[in-house]
């Protein structure tokens, strides 16, 4: 029952605050309620009123009315403190799984000061922020990434209790921008020298004057010239020689190089290799099932490779995380959401 209500509430909220990278807080998306201290304050006012009535003391009445009005005024203040704020996701960062990924927000205030705005995200510590009227500040939110792929902030709670802490006005920012999380880099175990026949290594070594030849099974897309046909004739296995010459011949990082290893682990190995090759300044290419990145070097190349590893195998997404599939959920015969605070 509660779970259903919670789900309904979430659904209602999500409709009310659609995903957007920029959110201007206003009447329709700000919620305001008294805090615990605010409720106590209300109780205190009631006790004061009773004291005033029973002692027929006008000045206690007066103080009660003054404090009650201050409470109402504080409600406006707290609301306005948030209402003038605009939060924009400037950049969703990128990083490796296991790290914290920075999301950079810009928090701007137009006409009024926005003081002591607290941002909360479960499991993340964010210092509160004060933005003066007409100014803007940057806010970095470090979100821990557990697994590779796209990381989005589900709901960033933006809250203020200023000025008195008696009321809390809050809303949720639901940025649509996503951070790209690369697989957690793991160095593959050093390949043990395969117990291969001497003639095979000799055979490989003789290939067109190239050194350091690696042998791997053939797969679609491999050039036919590299198939070790002699070996095919002998064993029926179709293998190819994959080589990297001293002269800068392309060195391919291959998804299929780690046969029998779990997909995520393979991606981790590849990520580690990309980092290693890149920091060594080597030329390298990446071959994934269904995707080949031609050998290159440099930061852009590294990013491209890591991005491909990050999104490998994820359903229907481009690198920016936009899903082609329509996120449709027909509204069934539920209650129409009432418009609050209008």
């Amino acid at each position: 029952m509660i779970a259903v209500a919670k789900r309904q509430w979430r659904a209602w909220l999500n409709r009310r605050i659609p995903r957007a990278d920029s959110l201007q807080f206003k009447q329709s998306n700000i919620f305001i309620l008294p805090t615990g201290a605010g409720l106590m304050f209300g109780l205190l006012l009631l006790i004061m009123l009773l004291t005033g009535i029973n002692y027929q003391n006008s000045l206690i009445y007066l103080l009660t009315f003054v404090l009650g009005s201050v409470f109402v005024a504080a409600m406006h203040q707290t609301h306005r403190n948030l209402a003038d704020l605009e939060v924009t996701l400037v950049k969703a960062g990128e990083g490796f799984a296991g790290q914290s990924i920075p999301f950079r927000f810009r928090v701007a205030s137009k006409k009024h000061d926005s003081i002591a705005i607290a941002f909360t995200l479960p499991g993340v510590v964010i210092d509160p922020l004060s933005v003066l009227a007409g100014e803007a500040q940057d806010l970095n939110v470090m979100v821990p990434a557990r697994k590779r792929g796209f990381l989005e902030i589900d709901r960033l709670r933006v809250e203020t209790r200023f000025p008195f802490g008696l009321l809390s006005a809050w809303s949720w920012m639901r940025p649509s921008g996503k951070a790209l999380v690369y697989p957690r880099p793991l160095m593959p175990p050093q390949p043990s020298t395969p117990p291969a026949a001497d003639d095979e290594s000799a055979e490989a070594r003789t290939m067109a004057g190239h050194d350091h030849v690696e042998i791997r099974p053939w797969r679609e897309g491999d050039p036919v010239q590299r198939v070790l046909w002699k070996r095919y004739a002998r064993t029926g296995e179709m293998v190819i020689g994959d080589w990297q010459g001293d002269q800068g011949s392309p060195h391919w990082l291959d998804y299929d190089a780690f046969s029998g290893v779990d997909q995520e682990l393979r991606l981790s190995y590849l990520a580690a290799q990309v980092i290693e090759r890149d920091s060594a300044g080597q030329l390298f290419g990446l071959r994934l099932p269904g995707e080949v990145i031609e050998p290159d070097r440099g930061a852009g190349h590294r990013r491209l490779c890591l991005s491909s590893l990050a999104v490998f195998g994820l359903p229907d997404t481009d690198v920016y995380g936009h899903s082609e599939a329509t996120r449709v959920r027909p509204f069934k015969s539920g209650p129409k959401p009432a418009r609050a605070f209008t």
Binding site: R15, R161, P163
Partner: protein
């Protein structure tokens, strides 16, 4: 809540301490001295701890301090319970809490206690100055709260002053309206006394020196306003108590008031303008039950209870300022009833022995006078003609005090002469009693009211004459006529003893006209404040309402208040709506697009911010195929409006777009119904 676990910012703590000091100030003369000391010590400790110079005490020490202080408190209070003792408990609680104030949660606890303390302060002191001080204290607390909630902000204190100040000014009209119209219902239940400690003022016993010590005080006792002519000074005998039992030194009541549980507070009596024969008294707190009234008065307000001997009592001791109303009766014309034997015995009571010379004098005078009236006159004549002095510095008269007063020292204050005369009358078999109260009173600013001060305290005599009943006789008037004609100042002018120990009272410096003027103006300001703001209670509200058109009753007032509140809410709502209206786009097509987005979002379709109308329409049509046509048409119109240069001159048909939106809504509604019914069929 994690919010409450942050350590306290120093500036917030500072403001809290400032608020505490200000809010405890109005109680300085009520708190036990040790408590003030403890509070200062503990607050200093806390402040030093904040600076890192000292450490806050550990748990054991804290509990030790707490137990010791509570024990000390219980010992001081020793079972008396009143608001005064309760408020000193609040102060103690705040003092002890200083040692535990670590987090913002503790700040809030202190905030609540201190705000309530401010309310309690109003029970003790209601002057304008104290009211403002209390408000400043509360404002300090609110500044502390602001600093607490934005600790990193620079200049938060100044901004805090400004913010709370603006809030107070902006809400002032609402506060005033609420204050005037909020129905002042009667007390819901009986509450403890504000204070049960004695105050300076008339007491119910009279020893020879008791009133002369009261005459050293310039404190105000009450103010009186007359609807008609103000009686002349010599007629202004404010009767309070009848003392009819003498034990040789002290006069007291033979039938003291039985103890009564204090009733509900009823501080306000009298509606409407004063009639010509009416007068109204604004009594400062006495913590006593007796009211002061001129002779031959009738109670008008319902907070007075008439008693035997033409006295009036309150149902509850006057523990704060109280207003009551009386009417002067016409002179009684009907025949005087004879005194009952029991009463006669009471008013002739004398101790068996003592003061033999006075008794002998009474015998002598009785012999020489033919009736009681003549007896009285011959005694007053004796006082008038012989060298009796009226003095604020009477000698002590041990033993037979009346004898030494009448025959040896011949110097005394009103209490001496009133006691002596009553003694003499009784010794001559004339029923008599001492009456204590006040006599006279100074005219206040603009002659609006009389101010009666403690030094106007007086004692006189009432004697029973068979043909006239109780008759007032004032021996002091025979010795020092100025006392009743113009007051104590003139009566003791030669002696120079007027308020000689009360350096701070402006009345002491009667010759400084400017000071008198300022003092009277201030008193008037305070009078208006007390009468119309502090005293704006039950009947005063009815009074004001009776002057307003409509003549509202308490219930109607409730309606008015509720109406005002809902009007305020309505206004706030309207402002919100207009603001929202202003917030919306000025581009009509943009508004229609927003409407369209809203329509789709309510159906569960997420709208991406960068999505083109066409794409959105396509997506929506996938889910609601029956609305495909209008969706497409709408999207096309939006596109045409914004992007088709050839159509730039032509106005877009907004009505047609609106109609399309209505059709989209209807079609989608139908589509939903069809979907759910087909789902049901599938099941």
């Amino acid at each position: 809540m994690s919010h409450h676990e942050q350590p306290l910012p120093s500036r917030a703590l500072l403001w809290l301490i400032v608020g505490f000091v200000i809010l405890v100030a109005p109680q300085w003369d009520r708190l036990p001295l040790w408590l003030i000391g403890v509070c200062i010590l503990l607050a200093t400790w806390r402040a030093l701890a904040q600076k890192g110079r000292l450490r806050l005490p550990g748990k054991l020490l804290r509990i030790g301090i707490m137990l010791a202080m509570t024990a000390l408190y219980l010992f001081t209070v020793s079972g008396r319970f009143s608001v005064e003792t309760a408020s000193s408990f609040f102060v103690l609680a705040v003092g002890l809490k200083w040692l535990e104030t670590r987090y913002s949660r503790d700040f809030y606890v202190l905030f609540f206690i201190l705000v309530y303390l401010a309310a309690v302060n109003f029970l003790f002191r209601q002057g304008i100055g104290w009211t403002l001080l209390n408000l400043v204290g509360v404002v300090s607390l609110f500044i502390g709260l602001q600093v607490l909630n934005a600790p990193q902000l620079k200049g938060a204190s100044l901004a805090g002053w400004r913010r709370i100040g603006t809030m107070l000014i902006k809400t002032l009209p609402i506060v005033v309206l609420l204050f005037v119209f909020f129905p002042r219902m009667g007390p819901l239940w009986s509450v403890p006394m504000v204070s049960n400690q004695g105050k300076t003022g008339i007491s119910d016993t009279m020893a020879p020196g008791s009133i002369s010590s009261l005459a050293q005080s310039g404190d105000r006792a009450f103010r009186a306003t007359f609807g008609g002519e103000v009686p002349p000074h010599r007629e202004r005998y404010w009767r309070g108590l009848i003392l009819d039992q003498f034990d040789g030194t002290t006069w007291q009541q033979s039938q003291p008031l039985p103890f009564e549980r204090p009733g509900r507070v009823n501080l306000d009596g009298g509606i409407g303008a004063l009639a010509a024969d009416e007068y109204e008294i604004l009594l400062d707190a006495t913590n006593q039950r007796w009211a002061f009234a001129l002779g031959n008065s009738n109670a008008v307000s319902d907070n007075l209870k008439p008693m035997a001997g033409e006295l009036f009592r309150f149902r509850r001791p006057a523990d704060t300022t109280l207003r009551y109303r009386l009417a002067l009766g016409s002179e009684p014309t009907q025949a005087v009833e004879a005194l009952s034997t029991e009463a006669r015995r009471r008013y002739l009571q004398l101790p068996g022995q003592g003061n033999p010379r006075a008794r002998a004098l009474a015998e002598r005078l009785k012999q020489s006078s033919s009736n009681d009236r003549e007896f009285i006159n011959s005694f007053l004549n004796k006082l008038r003609t012989e060298a009796y002095f009226y003095t604020l510095r009477p000698p002590t008269m041990p033993g037979d005090g009346i004898d030494s007063l009448l025959f040896d020292d011949k110097r005394g204050f009103c209490a001496h002469y009133a006691g002596a005369m009553t003694f003499l009358l009784r010794a001559a078999d004339i029923p008599a009693r001492v009456v204590v109260g006040y006599q006279g009173g100074a005219i206040g600013a603009d002659e609006e009211y009389l101010i009666i001060r403690q030094y106007d305290a007086h004692a006189w005599v009432e004697a029973w004459l068979p043909d006239a009943g109780w008759v007032r006789v004032d021996p002091t008037a025979a010795i020092a006529p100025q006392r009743v004609e113009s007051g104590l100042r003139d009566a003791v002018a030669e002696e120079g003893s007027f308020l000689e120990n009360d350096w701070t009272s402006p009345q002491r410096y009667g010759d400084m006209a400017a000071l008198q003027w300022v003092s009277l103006k201030l008193d008037k300001l305070n009078y208006q404040w007390t009468r119309w703001v502090v005293g704006y209670q039950g009947q005063s509200q009815m009074d004001l309402m009776s002057r307003l058109p409509g003549n509202l009753s308490l219930r109607e007032l409730g309606y008015v208040t509720a109406g005002l509140m809902s009007l305020a809410l309505l206004l706030a709502g309207l402002i919100t709506l207009t603001r929202q209206y202003r917030e919306r786009s000025s581009d009509p097509v943009q508004r229609l697009v927003a409407h369209w987005h809203g329509l789709l979002q309510r159906r569960g379709l997420q709208v991406a911010p960068d999505e083109t109308p066409d794409r959105l329409a396509r997506r929506a049509a996938d889910v609601y195929p029956n609305a495909k046509k209008p969706l497409r048409a709408f999207a096309a119109m939006v596109n045409n409006h914004y992007y088709k240069p050839s159509r730039a001159g032509e106005p877009t048909d907004l009505n047609y777009m609106k109609r399309l939106l209505r059709i989209i809504a209807q079609d989608m509604q139908k589509g939903t119904r069809r979907q759910s019914s087909s789902e049901r069929k599938a099941e």
